[in-house]
Amino acid sequence: MKELTFNVKFSRFLLNWLFLMVVWVAFTTSFSSQELVVGLVVTMIISLLSISMFTCCTPAILCPRRIFFMIWYLFVFIGALIMSNLDVARRVLTPSLPINPGIVKIKTKLTTNFSKMVLANSITLTPGTLTVDIVDDTLYIHWIDVKTTNPEEAFKEIAEQFEKILLKIF
């Protein structure tokens, strides 16, 4: 792994700090000065200590365009979630259990580990599919009702809508 410059490190630290401070406020649900002061100190310490770890994104992620896509992604995701949950409900409640399970593989164009994780999680959370593993750019997906074993077709069925947006975010 290449050495990061101080600037990169510092910017990531600030991002980390900000992120944690938001989480802190959510935890404390309080804007009292005592809580904020303590929070600033604690989150600073933690972000300092975890600076080498928190490398999944850069402060660039905060640019408005990406945030917009994030929100859009959220809606797409929730829609998919609800639809496929209804699908699973149907399967579960059908006495004959209409399933045809199997594992298929798809390829993703995403490059960073973090974005691949988000994609995999999204696939997992949309019922009917479950990411079993990622090997480099290949995702192995357990599909409760396999419609095709062709990777490209499967990609279209399962991941395309998510990947499109994710490519824009990351």
């Binding site: 409900a89 399933i99 399970p101 199997g102 079993v132 090997v135 396999v146």
Partner: protein, 125 residues
Amino acid sequence: MNTAYDIIGAILILIGSIFLFLGGLGIFRMPDVYNRLQAGTKATTLGGMSTILGIGFLMVEDYWGWLVKAIIIVIFIAFSNPISSHALARAMYKRKHYPLIMSKDENMDAYREVADKNQNKEETI
């Protein structure tokens, strides 16, 4: 039934709890561990998120902290549950507990070709 918050909350809770139930039922009914993961943990994820958010909405007028904290929990669940499901599925596969395949298609288990390899390179932090 006083405010919109209450209504949203009630609906979310109701939907959520039904999915929680369905998740449990899915686990009960599905034939193998992968399908149980499919049906069970994910339905409960949605159900749990929905229920928790619903409570947050119900109480948000009392104290805004309820909603904030509910969201925090929901976000955590949204991130953690797929990971744990995935980890379980992978672990079961690595234990050579292969998934149930109903159809006769040869390609129904695409993972078998790479499963036994320790394919992840050492990745430092």
